[in-house]
Symmetry: C2
């Protein structure tokens, strides 16, 4: 059985606006992200992890998603950090789940065919992530905006979601990372720390993560366009 | 005197489509990029560097840009690599130019206020680039898409253009880089190799570099939106 966890806990500390509750084409970013997964037909359940404050808002559309797609969406309360929320999602999975996709609630535009490809890869190899090659020239800078060094972009990839894993592998890697007190920006990092191989699946461009208010504008245009 | 060089030489090797000649809202990407600079009122001249094959196409709108904005656009033939084209642009500058902005022909959406801010910074400090903080989790991967390592994204910035420099500083850094046979993905890299300080100016999100066909769709939507 293949399950999905949509992570929408935490606050939008970086930007100071509530990106998940922003409305695009009549639905919140978060609802779009959940519906994008449900529409693929790949998942037997979706665990939606949010802060308790967002529960009522989510409950308002969770039933509609089930009715329209046949996929049950269950709510779970998230923790302070992203990794706490993923751990809460893992704890809430149906015991029969053998494969789990973790998806950012702030990625409402993910394409069904990309989701299917990364699920298929993980089904074979045990761990896979959507990703795209870095095309920008990257530099390190100090707090005053002075360039201090370079980073070679050759062979460098930017991680996206969904990231899909054998449930046991992700559970073990997560337990080890949390025991070490490691801060995780994504699940690939947990597997990497555990020495587990992860395969990257090149995404179709456009799987935007809503970070800035400008991203919302762009996502809205892409959704209509 | 402040000049600009728009670099549009080379081929779109990565994507196999001619991104510069693609039409958005009735004009090519390249014409939009040149007009975006001309419209800022910051530049006394713009040197457009393209492959000889693109000369006629450019000539068709160069005069209109001058007529409408008062900024003369002069054509120069570019080399095989990006850095050869920038060198050709430097050679074609008006001798009175003291400050020069180098801009990618594939960035048609750059905002006038961002251009003005990076020019102002370079006027003070001698070297500045538009840039944005990296928000993605980055990993290194081998040729089979297997994750091989991590790159800390803290303090990491993605370079954009325009990048603006005191003409003498850029000329010296370029001469040194070319003498060493260094391959340059941007001008900041040339200054960095020469030990010259560069200040990063945070851009407004949306200064897309057209790389994939999907970026064209997005740029078209942003332009209309």
């Amino acid at each position: 059985m293949t399950s999905a966890i949509v992570v929408a806990a935490g606050t939008s500390r970086r930007m100071g606006f509530d990106k998940l509750a922003a409305v695009l084409a009549g639905r919140t970013v978060l609802e779009h992200s959940v519906r994008a997964l449900a529409a693929t037909g790949e998942f037997a359940e979706i665990i939606l992890v949010t802060s308790p404050a967002r529960r009522d808002e989510a409950q308002a559309w969770i039933d509609a998603v089930r009715r329209e797609t046949g996929v049950p969406v269950r709510w779970a309360g998230g923790g302070a950090e992203r990794q706490d929320s993923v751990a809460a999602g893992l704890a809430a999975l149906d015991p029969a789940a053998t494969l789990v996709a973790v998806h950012d609630g702030a990625r409402p535009l993910v394409r069904a065919d990309d989701v299917r490809r990364v699920v298929a890869e993980a089904r074979t190899s045990g761990a896979a992530s959507l990703a795209h090659p870095v095309v920008d020239t990257l530099k390190r800078a100090d707090g005053n905006g002075q360039v201090t060094g370079s980073v070679d972009r050759t062979d460098l990839w930017a991680m996206e979601t969904p990231q899909v894993f054998a449930v046991d592998v992700l559970r073990d890697a997560y337990a080890a990372a949390l025991a070490r007190g490691q801060s995780l920006t994504d699940e690939v990092s947990a597997l990497e720390a555990a020495g587990q191989p992860v395969t990257l699946v090149p995404s179709t461009p456009g799987n935007l993560k809503i970070t800035h208010p400008g991203d919302l504008v762009m996502a809205g245009l892409l959704m209509r366009g």
